[in-house]
Amino acid sequence: MIKTAPSEYRVTAPRNLGAVFGRVRTSGPFLWILPAGLCVLFIFGYSVFDLVQQSFKYQGDWVGFENFSLVLTDPLFRTAIFHNFLLLFTVPILAVMSFTCAVLLFETRKGMKFYRSAVFLPYILPIPVIGVVFGQLLQLNGALNSALRAMGFESLALDWLGDPKQALWTMSGIIIWKEVGFGTILILARLISIPLETMEAARIDGAGFFRLHLQVTLPQLRAVILFYIINESIVMVSWVFNYVYVMTNGQGGPGNATVVSELYIYRSAFQNNAPELAATAALLLLLATLVFIIGFFRIQRNMSKGVFDD
């Protein structure tokens, strides 16, 4: 990447006094930022403000913490949050799989481009499409099971989405299927930018494939893997509605086996006529993601520092 200049050179100073847009110039950066700033403030600021208000009211009347106690004591809400939590377990799997895929691609010369495109393809497909297609393939008598049965693996032909015991795991499998491409590409990009000498030196020292990548490559990828992990954690907590909605006819079934917090909020508001409970649940979800927001903020700060002050 292009070498960055020290920022002090660009510290604001009176300049360009003779230009046409005098007023605009002298007002500094703020007019530049204003339109975007207003938009962001409106979308996020207004929403959070209104959300807090709504969650303390019932049909316009102030009810204190009543909504909170109703939501927090709702077994379904707890189940939904628990499912989001369980989905977090796919994140380490994703990280390991992405790392492995990236290393394999990195070490491959023949057909690397093709493999790379293929591995990445699922990531660009629309989730509703993925949901619909997988929903059809994973029926008890669907394509996957008919293939398994033909190969003699009768006992592996499970009711993937119909059995409450594994529906959530099936769903995580599908999420992994889609998300692993992203991690692979991310890690691969970083891998390619590692100076070759580092690896060559290790190789000359006699490091084998596994030792090389676990002891030399992996530490170099720490930051990017961390970024990926945080990013995917966010996905699991707040961006799985589409999968569930499409694959379970908007029900989160069988039973409540795949209800997640987003679906809980959506259904409270638009199916059960309880917008105040939906708002409360949304506020609680926001508080829960605050942990990630702070983590993200830190990472970004460190990274920004790298860019800004190098």
């Binding site: 209104d50 009211k57 049909q59 316009g60 409450p164 069988p254 039973g255 638009f270 105040e276 409970l277």
Partner: protein, 444 residues
Amino acid sequence: MKITGKAIAAGSAVAVLLSTFSLIGASASVDPKKAFPTKPVTLTMWWWGEQEAPGAQAWVDATVAAYKKKRPNVTIKTVLQTTDGLVPGFAAAAAAKSGPDLQYFWGGIYSQQPGWDGQIAPVSDYIPASELKHYINATTELSFQGKIWTAPWYVNPSFPVLARTDILSKYNQKVPKTWTELLKVCDVLSKEGVPTLAGGVKDGWFGGWLYSIIGGQSVTNKDVVAAVVGKQKFTDAKHADWWTRLQETKDRKCWNSDINSLELYQAQQLWKDGKAAMTVVAGPDAPNFANAVGASKVVVMAMPKWSTGQFAGKMGSTSQTIGITQWSKNKEVAADFIMFGHEKAQLDSWYNLTGSMPADDRFDLNSVKDPVKKALFKSALPGAPYLENFIPAQLDADAVFTNVQLVLAGTKTGKAAAADMQAVMERLRKTDRSLVKNFTAWNK
């Protein structure tokens, strides 16, 4: 006034009050004989029904066209909704106070709740009582404190069980009339790898059907509403026993093994394709199913009896309805269109296009020649109340749909399911703070 009220009230209670007053004003001043508007009027109708009464789309198109001839200044736009989208779609539209003028509802609670929530205007304010009295099921299911919320459109005999004698006799079985007989058939057929009953609960709806046709045998709608408001319990034997019956169908392998991964309409095809002996279909669609297989090989009946209850062995009867939305600017035009749909020409054309029964006692049953249809229509006329329509929709979705899925997946017992239903109901009475009041008033 619920989603409308709550959603909007957060920001501007004043606006709600104002709009409520103006609406009350409007409905009070309505005179059905008021001069029909001559200005161009456009109405939007969101509807459903092609799914269970194929041919309904053709009828809607024809009726809209015919109405255009009668009232050239009125244009009606119709939008067919999906099964999963019907309820949430309207809820969101109601919260936004924009959307259709005419909205389709399932009967009973699905027509009541929007009224309680202030989303629709009672049709009895716009349609004269002398006309409404002909609409089948209007008073049993749809009236509330002297008003009738929505107008019945067509009758849904709910829900007929279809049995194929060709498949049953292949294994030396007769059509089961009682529960014990049904389970015996299941024993025989499951050994042969043939499902006795074809069903699909992935999308949930079938759970509500099963509740009504199995659970409805031991209770009345009064009992159910009593359990809703807390005077009885869903764990009382007469409310809970059906869950054990349901578990028996699972234990005795009555169903197709993929019942949990198929949608209802997909599963019914198994029966059509000769892969299952019996199935349950929507009333309006039953003749089509029977005729596709060959009416002589099909017996249309109520669910086999297990209880001595008042409604055991009887088919339920419910009417699907059309309502007029609270925010519609042309309520009397909307009502005029509804009444147009009940004129003789339209009643006959409904029957001809869909083969199902219009919800109007002026429809001439003698014009029905098809024996399957005739039997079906007669069974629906003094029919039992359709149970699913007397519980809150959220209880249906959160306790019935889910627990039926779990019992049929074999991960929950019937007893546990009943306990869960009771627990969900108790919770619901807390979260929906006007539920008890409304249900009590409805069931007076």
